[in-house]
């Protein structure tokens, strides 16, 4: 009976709602006094410029640079500009970016169009990568040497231009150019028999991608044909000397001390690729959609490698000592890669849809290198067939059910020792797919996905074999100003013992809220909390004992992010605002980590279009088991925002 009352109440509540709803968009012109029309500015936007101050970093500076890496000085923190030119050759443009003046991530983007002849997009970004953690994979840490042998101080620059012609026509040609460049320095190892020597590594690689194509957009047929090419060059090299260095092995071998006195390694890698793709979507009948794709690429590289090394080395095969090691290798590698897909959407009835798709993805890598007695080859074939049925028993509720079959195989050299044979792995997975989506109004939605997969064969020991995956996501706008959202993800894999016992479980629960009364002009509250757990348990063979050992990884993490903004009652004409919050990440398990980033920000308006910004941040990192990976730093910014 109680259910019946509940049911009735819900039905009544749902019936009443539409009657209460007012047409949000309908604003009759005659209703109310006439509002004075705002004068439209051809240029609008805002930019922020400021000076950043850092305190001394307490703890390890290299760790600070590996994680935060924000420096002092004048910065163009952010800008966002819109131009409504309404000219013949430029109707509208949007230019925005941030981080310029020396920050590790700087970016700018531009989009412009004239509405008839062209649409242009440009994207440029530069990213600094600094990574020199004292404890990470450092073979000499136990000797108290904190200089990591795998450290990098590099930068990547990425630039992309794309122009589409006649964007408003059914036939749209387009062209694009992308350049990606990496350069900088680092430390890597020169590996000789029985010893490794840290050496300077100069990095310099460039990739140019050109592509062009045409899009055909008709009411029942959409077609994209694209052709492209890649030019690639990698000129990295290493150097060492002239001082002799003993490397990681300090003990003599057969009475001789191994040393490196001089080294020049040069990689001259030059490559290219040609790629093509065709995509088609057609609607031959009202109840049928067909989509298909064909994508092919064939990258190849030509290799010229030279090495001259002087010092005292040993050749472990012949047990002879050598004073020099020189090499010049020529090689080539090619990797044809084909991906094709065919899909159907059949709608036998308005609320019933059947989705069917077949996909294949296959590549092989063929290569040979001179002075190496063997060529190498990798093969990989992946196929997938998926059927899904979607039903809408009532409006706004979608139920899904389906089946996915994945099969394929791979082939690679079993080992790098000698003329090792090839080994073959297979993949065979059967998956049941289920899901439901409920979107009661545009204010409330709840989606769920369930995937139950069983595998006969997988390629790697760590591949997921028998697993269940669940995802639930929901959003609810309780009022016009208060929005709640949350998600839950669960993955559980258990590989049967007859294959190899591999247990993996992860779970993520997260929730958040946004409260912005008065369209965000007054108080603003944004908060999120997430908890994630990972547990991985797998046996492996310890090479030194040939006994089995356990690789056990655990992580139990809590993440809190929040920002509260309040208006300050200073009695000024324009409103000052104070924001406080930040984020906190705390985890326990295999690598316990604490990472705190509190922040406080004040905005003091000087006029209608100008305000002063003051921001304070604190960064604190500690990793319990890794003594050197920790730092604390204060940071301040004073700047101007102009709009």
């Amino acid at each position: 009976m109680k259910y019946a009352f509940l049911l009735m109440a819900l039905v009544l509540a749902a019936q009443e709602k539409p009657a209460q709803e007012k047409p949000a968009e309908a604003k009759p012109a005659e209703a109310g006094p006439t509002q004075p029309k705002a004068v439209e500015q051809p240029v609008r936007g805002e930019f922020e410029i400021g000076v950043r101050f850092n305190s001394d970093v307490r703890g390890d500076l290299n760790t600070y640079r590996s994680i935060v890496n924000l420096g002092e000085g004048v910065r163009l923190l952010r800008w966002d500009t819109w131009l409504d030119a309404k000219k013949k050759w430029l109707k509208q443009a949007h230019f925005y970016g941030g981080g310029w003046g020396g920050d590790p991530s700087a970016w700018l983007r531009l989009s412009a169009e004239d509405g008839k002849w062209y649409r242009f997009n440009a994207d440029h970004r530069t990213t600094a990568y600094f990574n020199a953690l004292p404890s990470f994979a450092n073979p000499l840490l136990e000797r108290g040497i904190l200089a990591n042998q795998r450290s990098y101080d590099t930068r990547r620059r990425f630039t992309e231009f794309e122009v589409a012609l006649l964007p408003a026509s059914p036939l749209i040609p387009y062209f694009s150019y992308t350049r990606d460049r990496g350069f900088g320095r680092g430390v890597t190892n020169f590996v000789a028999d029985a010893n490794e020597y840290p050496v300077l590594n100069n990095l310099n690689d460039r990739t140019n991608v050109y592509r062009g194509g045409v899009r055909v957009e008709r009411r029942r047929l959409h077609l994209t044909l694209e052709q492209g090419g890649i030019q690639f060059r990698d000129d990295q090299n290493t150097e060492a000397g002239p001082a002799a260095q003993p490397g990681n092995r300090t003990a003599p071998i057969f009475g001789e001390q191994l040393v490196l006195r001089d080294l020049r390694q040069a990689y001259g890698i030059e490559g290219s690729s040609v790629f093509s793709r065709g995509l088609v979507t057609a609607q031959p009948a009202g109840w049928l959609d067909i989509n298909g794709a064909f994508q092919f690429s064939q990258p190849r590289n030509d290799i010229t490698y030279t090495q001259t090394a002087a010092g005292r080395f040993i050749d472990l095969d012949s047990l002879l000592f050598l004073n020099t090691q020189n090499a010049r290798l020529l090689g080539a590698a090619k990797q044809p890669h084909l991906t094709a897909n065919l899909g159907l959407e059949i709608r036998p009835e308005g609320r019933l849809r059947v989705l069917q798709s077949w996909t294949t993805d296959r590549l092989h890598n063929a290569s040979s290198v001179s002075e190496t007695p063997f060529s190498d080859r990798l093969e990989w074939n992946y196929n997938q067939q998926q059927t899904e049925v979607l039903v809408e028993p009532v409006a706004r509720l979608t139920l899904r059910g389906g089946y996915r079959y994945v099969w394929g195989d791979g082939r690679a050299r079993a080992s790098f020792l000698g003329n090792a044979p090839f080994e073959r792995g297979e993949l065979r997975r059967h998956g049941a797919l289920m899901g439901a989506g409920y979107r009661m109004t545009d204010r409330f939605s709840l989606y769920s996905d369930v995937e139950i997969v069983r595998s006969d064969r997988v390629l790697f020991r760590t591949s997921l074999t028998d697993y269940e995956k669940v995802r639930v996501r929901g959003r609810h706008a309780l009022t016009g100003s208060l929005r709640l959202y949350g998600s839950l993800q669960y993955l559980n894999n258990e590989t049967p013992p007859e294959l190899n016992r591999f247990e993996f479980r992860s779970m993520q629960e997260a929730m958040g809220l946004e409260w912005m009364p008065g369209s965000g002009q007054g108080v603003q509250v944004i908060g999120e909390y997430a908890r994630s757990t990972i547990r991985s348990d797998l046996l492996y063979l310890a090479p030194q004992t040939l006994g089995s050992e356990r690789s056990f990884y655990r992580e139990n993490a809590h993440t809190v992010t929040g920002l509260v903004t309040v208006p300050l009652a200073l009695g000024w004409t324009w409103q000052a605002r104070l924001s406080a919050g930040g984020s906190m990440f705390v985890s326990s398990g295999s690598r316990p980590t604490d990472f705190y980033q509190p922040v406080a920000r004040v905005t003091l308006p000087l006029g209608k279009r100008c305000s002063v910004l003051a921001e304070y941040r604190w960064y604190g990192v500690s990793q319990t088991f890794y003594t050197f990976e920790g730092f604390r730093s204060h940071q301040g910014i004073i700047g101007l925002r102009i709009n």
Partner: protein
């Protein structure tokens, strides 16, 4: 018998709860068609819409959709509003919101069908039919604001559903999302992908999206590290963020490597041969990448040593 009665009772409760769940949807079903003949729906032109919705009309004109109003070829000249909202004659008479199609409030299937009739095959739209968003009633308007000249902020929109993924970017080793250095759509195609099991977008025809910025890892290498091609970068890295350096999925490099290179069980799997003669108790040998420096693939050495 007890078990049977409990089962039946449980099923009954589940059925009632199921009804409760769908009740609001049932209640919001349009009432049964009345015998009265429906008014004829005809296109009235955007000028009529502008009379009441001038603000929306003006802001739409600044968006890419604004060109519908002017272009003869696209078939909606002077009817841009009705290209999405359908014929507006009945609504113009009654001014009732129920008399006009509102994609924002329609079921996602209907709303998306309206958008897809024009946007099916643009470069990022391929696979929209099978995309997770499309399957889960996430409609185009959840992320795109059609009337607003300024698009919604991608980070904010993705984060309101993918809360857990956004939280991962608060970990110490991560991609620079908050700083604007990367955006979600740099790596993901929110409209779907051919290989639906993998959420990454494609670049240069069929290469994984990681190579868009990490061109030096593209290869092909003379000596490949097989998982790079078959499992993708996610086999070893947590691309959103990690507590482990280099965004690795394990806290120590040797665990990362030895879990595959282990030689126990499943003889058919690739990479199962264990590393021989390596004394992992020695700190010199313990970290595999000390020697195997070209772990992503090598141009000259099969053991990935140089």
């Amino acid at each position: 018998m007890v078990g049977l009665s409990i089962t039946t009772d449980t099923i009954r409760k589940l059925a009632v709860l199921g009804l409760i769940a769908v009740a609001p949807g049932l209640a919001q079903q349009p009432p049964p068609a009345t015998p009265a003949a429906p008014a004829r729906r005809e296109y009235v032109g955007s000028v009529m819409c502008q009379g009441c919705h001038e603000e929306l009309f003006n802001s739409l004109a600044k968006t890419p959709h604004g060109k519908l109003e002017e272009s003869e070829k696209l078939g909606w000249k002077e009817k841009a509003c009705e290209s999405c909202h359908g014929p507006g004659s009945v609504h113009a008479e009654s001014a009732s919101p129920g008399d006009i199609r509102n994609p924002l409030k329609s079921p996602a299937r209907e709303a998306n069908a309206t958008c897809m009739s024009c946007h099916k095959n643009q470069p990022t739209r391929v696979g929209a039919i099978r995309g997770g968003h499309a399957r889960n009633q996430v409609s185009c308007s959840n992320c795109h604001s059609v009337h607003a000249a300024k698009p919604k902020e991608p980070l904010k929109e993705c984060g309101t559903c993918h809360v857990a993924q956004l939280a991962e970017f608060q970990k110490p080793f991560r991609h620079r999302l908050q700083e604007g250095g990367v955006q979600c759509v740099d790596c993901h195609n929110p409209h779907g992908r051919l290989l639906s099991a993998n959420p990454l977008r494609d670049v240069s025809a069929n290469e994984p999206g990681c190579f868009r910025c990490h061109g030096d890892k593209r290869g092909p290498f003379a000596f490949e590290h097989a998982p790079m091609r078959t499992e993708g970068c996610g086999a070893c890295h947590e691309p959103h963020g990690s507590a482990n350096p280099r965004m690795l999925t394990r806290h120590e490099v040797r665990n990362q490597c030895l879990e595959c290179h282990a030689g126990i069980g499943q003889s058919a799997a690739l990479g199962g041969v264990p590393p021989a003669f390596h004394d992992l108790s020695s700190s010199r040998i313990r970290n595999c990448t000390t020697c195997h420096v070209k772990i992503h693939g090598s141009h000259v050495n099969r053991a990935l040593l140089r």
